[in-house]
């Protein structure tokens, strides 16, 4: 029975693999493979490229394995050559040291190009919007420094405009991830991190807290609404006119361990984001500088050289 089964195993796995690939391409559940913005698309291209490149090695390995196992099986009357002394071949070794080196070389080149691309705004000619994000136990707090409004567990962004998310945490570190817009970046206490994203299509997208932060972690999901610039402006005005003000005391209440519903605030304590960064350790890194203003270029952000990796350009993010 085992022998019969193993003979079919190859066929079965080929069908399963093919089915997986086909399903993967079309189904909207695969958020990572259905990006709606330039950042997510760039990353998707790299995912596809790397899959193809590793397949160049994987497929021959599977075929060789199957053929060799069958042809050189230890069975009386097997006429395949048996050559126990043949244990070295310079030529073959060159081939299989060479092929992976070439593949890795290609992949490394594309990786390098994309890593640097993602540190810049996806569109150079459009004025970006800034959203500051604070992860709390166990909810997400968003503030709009230009619009002077704030939200909890959802955020709204205009389509076609690069969004500069500035991230920090007023709790254990989490990770800010909206798969359909692009990859994630951590929210770290005492640091201001930067993530460029952009949505080109109006719609509602899932956001996730991706790094474990304790018992309420599962509930750290949030909603991202992308709307046209005019709809976005209307939403801002609506929040400004109809929502309550968030006071410092209100923020401290919000900060306590626990879950929260979606909420909107027509105003929030000024400088909240920077204060949070500074209180949680930022004062040792940024000195007298304001974390969220020490952006874009390589900055002289305090005495960060005492860290064992180059974090001085941390606010470049990607």
């Amino acid at each position: 029975m085992f022998r019969r089964f193993s003979r079919h195993l190859g066929k079965i796995s080929a069908i399963v693999a093919a089915a997986t690939v086909l399903l993967t391409g079309c189904s909207p559940e695969y958020q990572v493979l259905n990006p709606v913005g330039p950042v997510g698309r760039t990353e998707e291209h790299l995912i596809i490229l790397s899959t193809v490149l590793v397949a160049i090695v994987l497929v021959p390995v599977f075929i060789l394995l199957a053929v060799i196992l069958y042809r050189y099986r230890d069975k009386p009357g097997n006429t395949a050559p048996y050559n126990p002394e043949w244990v070295d071949s310079r030529t073959l070794e060159y081939v299989w040291w060479g092929i992976p080196i070439v593949i890795i070389g290609i992949l490394a080149a594309f990786t390098a190009k994309t890593i640097f691309t993602l540190t810049k705004p996806p569109e150079a000619n459009i004025k970006p919007i800034t959203v500051q994000v604070i992860s709390l136990n166990w909810k997400w707090f968003f503030e709009y420094p230009d619009q002077k409004i704030a939200t909890v567990n959802y955020c709204e962004i205009p389509t076609g405009v690069p969004v500069q998310f500035e991230l920090t945490s007023d709790a254990p570190m989490n990770s800010f991830w909206i798969p359909q817009l692009g990859g994630q970046e951590y929210t770290m206490p005492g640091m201001a991190m930067r993530l460029w994203l952009q949505a080109d299509k109006p719609g509602q997208y899932n956001g996730y807290g991706a790094n474990f932060t304790g018992v309420g972690f599962e509930h750290m999901k949030f909603k991202v609404v992308a709307a046209s610039q005019s709809d976005f402006n209307a939403w801002v005005n609506h929040v400004k006119t109809s929502s309550p003000v968030l006071t410092k005391a209100g923020y401290n209440e919000l900060k306590k361990d626990g879950l929260a519903n979606e909420a909107s605030y027509s105003a929030y304590p000024p400088g909240l984001f920077n204060d949070v960064v500074m209180q949680n350790g930022g004062q040792y890194m940024y000195g007298s500088q304001t974390p969220s203003n020490s952006n874009s270029t390589k900055n002289s952000s305090g005495n960060m050289s005492n860290m064992n990796m180059d974090m001085s350009n941390m606010n470049m993010g990607h």
Binding site: V54, N83, V87, D88, P172, G183, G214, M309, M311
Partner: protein, 654 residues
């Protein structure tokens, strides 16, 4: 100390109560059996005080299998909870404890003792030595590991398990967010067993470099021994980073230091760096010996020497060096600059090159060979495609911008399970099957083993392939439940079925072992697989002194050459006139007592009970003091006894 256990928890929680009852029942049963059959003395003399590498290896193996069971139960509980959306089989608190202990136990208390089991059982026999370089230290290593594991395992029933992930990132693990004793258990259990791991690294490094039989040059060394050598070098450089990270976090938690807190200048990032400077090499520490096992098994069952020996050795050494330059890939998303990310992305991809070369060399070892599909070979062959996919997804994760999308998702979960199960577990099981007759002198039942093999291996793909899909669907790791309507239900359900299949596979292996203890075919040849290396020239199991006379090695795979008539087979059998008294180490109960003392210190620090810390500390100091003034540590096996043993085995010449 604010880490008072909640005693009420013992009776109110059904799961903990159940575990309590099971532990008490099992302990009573063990005590009863030992007393009834008057086996206490035997247990003490033959096992608890032994310094024999073969017995220590067997104890490591038993511990590894027990921990595989414990970690496996954790996995089944998690998969049951995730089978469908919104289940409440486990609550968040329990789920968090269970995913944490699953990770810690599988890596540190299952994979590590499993590789150490094979180090101990195989290396001295393979290089023609009578024991390891420091047998007493070897016993200390084992018992420190054992009591570290015990400390970890009692946490669930006494005070609560750690619940912040096996990576234990501060500030979540600092007192402010995690006041219970669970995290202390983690720090102490790893610290205590970590001392043992470092000692093992030193022990086998010295053993391999200094105790090889005459004629066995490095270039004639079997590939498994080469892999152990590379792994030991990595242990030496990697484990100190973990020791420092754990010690500093412990200072934060117990003495109010601020190394990794959010306040007073602490820097949580430093822990993460230190942890992964150990953590990534740790993966290779576990996988390199697995590569070594594979080279031995594939070559034996293809009746052909390993293809490209030089290349294989070079690849092992290359991985052990480049493996230290990849740790930042665990946090590409924590704000390192583009240039830093690029360096670590490329270094990580580069590790894939020697790994790929090894796969091709294994394939060409089988090419033009004669392949026998025995149990060890089946597991070794299953390794190749499984690990190839795991390695390939590893290269995909190394592409930093793509990793921004994979990080902390189920894609990552699927990848590292495929690398560690496909890479380490499959080949360690292959190694267990391969050297089983050498350890115990009997063969394992083939039929039950095949059932185990197919359930486990098919179960693996059913369990983990859907998880790659879940990652691309946005499912993050460590969530205890998920809502319906995201498309996550079907893949999760399939994955749970796969996990059950793997569990059934494991039960078949346990059944196979129990069945074979009684019914297994005895191995009277000492060479049941037609092996190639020195250990197969000995009887199964080997006498306690291993080699009556140490053979002189005249080639790679010398035992195979002797069987082919290229060397004289008589060189591997003892000649009556050549036998001299054999110098051997004496047993000692001190490693056991020393480790119990460490355990007491550990328990004391976990709960802040100072008398425990003092008593344990005095115990450690006393043991070390006594050892320093001990001169009667060895003895000679008389010639008559050796002659008697060898002639009873029918090996004596002349």
């Amino acid at each position: 100390m604010n880490t008072v256990p909640h005693w009420g928890i013992f009776i109110t929680e059904p799961m903990i109560l159940g575990s309590d009852v099971l532990i008490v029942l099992t302990s009573v049963a063990i005590v009863f059996v030992l007393t009834k059959f008057k086996k206490w003395g035997w247990l003490w003399r033959e096992w608890l005080t032994t310094v024999d590498h073969k017995k220590i290896g067997i104890m490591y193996l038993i511990a590894a299998l027990l921990m595989l069971f414990r970690g496996g139960v954790d996995a089944e509980l998690m998969r049951t909870q995730l089978a469908l959306p919104n289940l409440s089989f486990l609550d968040a608190e329990h789920y968090d404890e269970i995913f944490t202990t699953h990770g810690i136990i599988m890596i540190l208390f299952m994979a590590m003792p499993f590789i150490f089991a094979l180090f101990n059982i195989v290396v001295p026999l393979q290089i023609g030595a009578r024991d390891v370089a420091f047998p007493y230290l070897n016993a200390i290593s084992f018992w420190l590991f054992f009591f570290g594991a015990l400390l970890m395992n009692i946490s669930f029933v006494i005070g609560g398990s750690p619940d912040a992930g096996w990576t234990s990132y501060p500030p979540l693990t600092e007192l402010g967010f995690n006041p219970g004793p669970g995290e202390n258990y983690y720090l102490l259990a790893l610290q205590i067993s970590g001392i043992g791991s470092m000692a093992t690294g030193i022990n086998f490094l010295v053993t391999i470099l200094k105790m090889r039989a005459p004629g066995m040059t490095l270039w004639r060394m079997p590939l498994f021994t080469w892999s152990v050598l590379s792994s030991c070098v990595m242990i030496l450089f990697a484990f100190p980073a973990l020791t420092v990270a754990l010690a500093l976090l412990l200072l934060d938690r117990t003495l109010g230091a601020h190394f990794f807190t959010m306040l007073h200048g602490g820097n949580p990032m430093m822990f993460i760096n230190l942890f992964w400077i150990w953590g990534h090499p740790e993966v290779y520490i576990v996988i390199l010996p697995a590569f070594g096992v594979l080279s031995e098994v594939i070559s034996t069952f293809s009746r052909k020497a390993t293809f490209g020996y030089g290349s294989m050795v070079f690849a092992l050494v290359a991985i052990s060096i480049v493996g230290f330059l990849t740790w930042v890939h665990h946090f590409f998303t924590m704000g390192a600059g583009a240039d830093v990310n690029l360096f670590f992305a490329i270094a990580t991809m580069v590790v894939g090159i020697p790994t790929g070369v090894k796969v091709f060399n294994w394939l060409f070892t089988m090419y033009r060979g004669r392949i026998r599909m025995t149990l060890p070979m089946m597991w070794a062959v299953a390794f190749i495609p499984c690990f190839a996919i795991g390695g390939a997804t590893g290269v995909m994760l190394a592409v930093a911008p793509a990793d921004y999308q994979y990080h902390n998702s189920y894609f990552l979960v699927a990848h590292f399970h495929q690398a560690l199960i496909g890479g380490a577990v499959l080949s360690l099981v292959a190694g267990m099957y391969y050297w089983w007759p050498k350890m115990f002198g009997f063969m394992l039942d083939e039929r039950l083993g095949q059932w185990g093999f197919w359930f486990f291996n098919i179960g693996f793909y059913v369990c983990f392939m859907p998880q790659y899909a879940l990652g691309l669907m946005g499912m993050t790791r460590r969530i205890y439940t998920y809502p319906a309507g995201l498309g996550w239900t079907v893949p999760n359900f399939i994955s749970t079925i796969g996990a059950y299949m793997m569990g059934i596979g494991f039960l078949f292996i346990v059944w196979q072992i129990l069945y074979s203890i009684k019914h297994g075919k005895r191995d009277v040849t000492g060479d049941p697989w037609d092996g190639r290396t020195l250990e197969w020239s000995l009887p199964s199991p080997a006498p306690h002194y291993n080699f009556a006379t140490i053979p002189t090695i005249q080639g790679r795979d010398a035992w195979w050459m002797a069987k082919q008539g290229e060397l004289d087979k008589k060189d591997f059998l003892p000649d009556k006139d050549d036998i001299k008294p054999i110098h051997m180490p004496k047993n000692s109960g001190r490693p056991f007592i020393l480790s119990v003392s460490f355990f007491i210190i550990g328990l004391g620090i976990v709960f802040g009970v100072i008398p425990f810390e003092v008593i344990g500390g005095l115990g450690v100091a006393f043991c070390m003091f006594r050892r320093s003034f001990e001169y009667d540590t060895d003895y000679y096996v008389p010639v008559d006894e050796v002659i008697h043993t060898e002639s009873a085995l029918g090996r004596l010449q002349g």
